[in-house]
Subunit: 525 residues, 2 copies
């Protein structure tokens, strides 16, 4: 198949050669150089090809530096090659010893020399400041998501278009599924050997995974996180991947984790619309979370996405809430309730789609899509984009990728700039439960968002937290749709107004353009 | 003290004589008659008075009928009298055997004859239909709460006024604290022996509890549930009850449960504003919940009330969520999120107070207070009232009871009537997350609430769930403030409008009075 050949070429093109991919046959100790901190050091070994290596052969490596030891699962990559992918959390020398039920692969030892970060490597994204995210090197990560479930199941040409679209977009996370989607266009290869109706659930398909990994790497090169959806209910009885036997579910999860967890831009989404998966129970997803949590040596972010029934995101294996709801993204007080309840970061991953879908969940105007990013931010949460506008082939971004046709993305890019200029620790709700529509860092930085309202002025009043008399503030008026920033010449000086608020000493108001989609950015001078 | 004497008289007045209160000294088996199903059968025994009976003597009874056995804790009631209060869940004969570390109280046996319910006894309130409540006999219980923290700490005269106020009010639940409130007027007795600064934390004060129980019974006679607040942060360093040693906390909980749990109108609220209790951690409240859950033989409803930090109401010992938030009660979509997340009944116990408080949490107009009841109902939740309007003694209902001075209670009575005429199984959100502001039972019963909006008409359109062509509906316009019900002469006949909705066949709209606080009641003909 042409697709497969191109895939192999692409692997090199994408620079996976930087990994130590050469298969090693000799039992002697060896040293691997050139691995980068938070990059991938890959151990490759020749091993048995008889029987079914996917089932019969176990492999892992204990990788140690001083008192720290990490057990990293290995996997069979076909053609008699076994691999262990290690993403080193620190520089210097790490020593590995393999464990296997096969003598050939057991007790293999060596060392890995890890050098410093390259320029665009900030490490994996983690939860920071309870409700926010940061890269492991401390650089803030302000999540601006999008969704394209089956983009990797398209032709190489369309995949290339998708990557080009992402190059020109503001998105730094994409939600994407491992399994194909029965209701949108898909092309082989598949994660299992075989074809629809004839899958061998005991044999994975390395060709599929190499291609998938090449795209993970392509996203990583673009500083885009890959929120990998492990299960979804859109099988449409075409593949049966939503209804695997229990043992196959677990093998699948362990194989995916062994192959992909070393990519530092990987996040795990246990499922899309888990509550719409008719063959699985909530307890199954509890189990899936725990399998992934225990198998993943790097503790990548973990969440689950719902249709109507919120998962209990208080459960300890959930790192952040992944939310689908249009209504919640229309009102910052609604969205902030989620933060308050789960005490974790909240990503409004699906707030309905911009587009012209015949269904009401895909009919947002560009203005409304952009507004939901601002509303979510004022709630101290993060937001995801999606687009349902058919191209000449009746394909849509949210299904298969390709090009964007909507009007929101450029405004989301403006929004991203504002966010990145904002406080490093993240934007938190200020004076919640009083419909202030105000967020930021008390005493330092405030965003106030008016949404659809078209006021002619705003009284300079701020809630007392973090404020003192005589503090000075500058004000910028942001037209979030027309992407303008207008800095007011005045400096506003605070004076206590009452037991709750401070106001401008001169009692000044701020004139506003009486248009929708206006925000104020108020910063300490 | 005059108060104490009056209390003793009151005990008889309140009909506690109906319990089998006579202390029994003989070791022979005896039979108690006259106990009512879900009433209280009380066993009383003479026992040791030496040492400290509160610490030294353990007592419980195993009470059995056929294969069902209930272990009921006993308590020391002073003057050498020990009691076990049993609220029998079924009619017929129950056999008891006591257990004690004192020979005198150990192995006492007898039988209890339980007869049928009296007219106003529907049994205890329990969770029903996941999000709602019903009495044990199946009668729906539509919660209409109010709060008066320290009403039982007032003079007998004021307490009598409070009960009279409740007689004329719509409220069928009152939130009330065991411990006094340092910032409002209080009078002895106290739960512990002694006085402020000199409490003996190893001795409870039976006189306090007998008075408290008399008021519980007075509430029960009025069909009012008592949501008993076990801890609160308003001690103000006057009593130290918010900072008891661990052992005293547990003894207190066990003593309260042993004395009060047999009252069928008891609910347990672990705390008011638990997160404002500076000497207690969240883990303490987990523990308190578990102590109460294990000690209470009747499984009374259990909740906890917060200030800013929601408790994790998914925890298994929480029967329903008890919420404080003005913002949440302003928007049904906000409130329904809580139901969705916790999958349990939600009571918006404090939605701010009607009144003229200098603080913003006590400044609601009567209209706004009433509106929150309607909004909460449309969210499939329940709501509580509170009033902060000072009387001539600077006392307010929410602190000390007395009279109500606001304008909301009569409208809440109108609301209660609507609720009681509504579907037995409760009112649930219909087509959530689309800002329909519609709730009821699909295909049967709809409430639509307009709040502050003042529309001139409403298009007859309903979401498809439960609907078919040609179904017929009647419409009533409810003016929730002026308490009028206007039935429209027309009958509306359904026809499918699109993939989501049905509309009136003739495309009719409903003319509305262009006033705020309007609701529609739409019922199947």
């Amino acid at each position: 198949m042409a697709g497969t050949e191109i895939t192999r070429r692409r692997l090199y093109w994408l620079g996976l050669a930087a990994m130590a991919v050469s298969a090693e046959g000799a039992p002697a100790k060896r040293a691997i150089g050139g691995a980068e901190r938070w990059g991938i050091a890959e151990l490759a070994f020749k091993g048995p090809q008889v029987g079914n290596p996917f089932l019969d052969v176990s492999l892992s490596a204990d990788i140690r530096q001083n008192s720290q030891s990490i057990t990293v699962p290995g996997f069979y990559d076909g053609d008699g090659i076994y691999r262990v992918r290690f993403s080193p959390p620190t520089e210097g020398i790490w020593h590995y010893v393999t464990k296997s039920n096969t003598a050939e692969l057991n007790g293999r030892e060596g060392s890995i020399h890890v050098h410093a970060l390259s320029r665009n490597n900030h490490g994996p994204v983690r939860v920071a400041n309870q409700f926010h995210f940061a890269y492991a090197d401390g650089t803030p990560y302000k999540q601006i998501g999008t969704t394209s479930y089956a983009w990797t199941y398209q032709s190489d040409a369309i995949c290339a278009t998708t990557l080009k679209t992402l190059d020109g977009s503001p998105f730094n996370k994409i939600r994407m599924a491992v399994f194909p989607n029965g209701s949108v266009h898909f092309e082989p290869p598949y994660p299992f050997e075989g074809s629809p109706g004839h899958f061998d659930l005991e044999r994975f398909n390395p060709i599929f995974f190499r291609r998938f990994e090449a795209y993970l790497k392509a996203l990583q090169d673009r500083q885009i996180e890959a929120d990998i959806i492990l299960f979804h209910p859109y099988d449409g009885d075409k593949f049966g991947f939503d209804n695997l036997p229990t043992a196959a579910d677990e093998r699948y999860l362990r194989y995916v984790v062994a192959r992909l967890s070393a990519f530092r831009n990987v996040w795990w989404s246990m499922a899309n619309e888990y509550d719409a998966m008719k063959y699985k129970t909530e307890a199954d997803f509890d189990r899936f979370f725990q399998i992934v949590q225990s198998a993943d040596p790097y503790g990548r972010l973990r969440s689950i996405h719902h249709m109507h029934k919120f998962y209990d995101n208080n459960k300890p294996w959930v790192t952040h809430a992944s939310i689908q709801s249009g209504a919640i993204a229309k009102d910052d007080e609604r969205a902030s309730i989620l933060r308050d309840i789960w005490r974790k970061p909240v990503i409004l991953d699906e707030v309905q789609y911009e587009g012209t879908c015949p269904y009401r969940w895909g009919q947002l105007s560009g203005e409304e899509m952009v507004s939901r990013f601002w509303v979510g931010t004022i709630a101290g949460a993060y937001v995801g984009h999606g687009e349902y506008i058919e191209n000449e082939n009746q394909a849509v971004w949210v299904g298969t990728g390709g090009k964007l046709h909507g009007t929101s993305a450029s405004r989301i890019a403006f929004f991203r700039k504002v966010l990145e200029q904002g406080p490093k620790q993240g934007i938190d709700v200020i004076d919640k439960w009083y419909d202030r529509h105000l967020a930021g860092v008390p005493g330092e930085y405030y965003l106030h968002y008016f949404g659809k309202e078209t006021p002619q002025s705003w009284n300079f009043v701020l809630p007392q937290e973090g404020l003192k008399d005589d503090m000075q503030f500058a004000v910028e008026i942001l037209d979030t749709w027309n992407m303008t920033v207008t800095k007011l010449p005045d400096v506003f000086v605070l004076k206590r107004k009452d037991q709750y608020d401070f106001a401008d000493t001169l009692g000044r108001s701020i004139p506003l353009p009486a248009k929708p989609w206006i925000a104020l950015r108020i910063t300490r001078v």
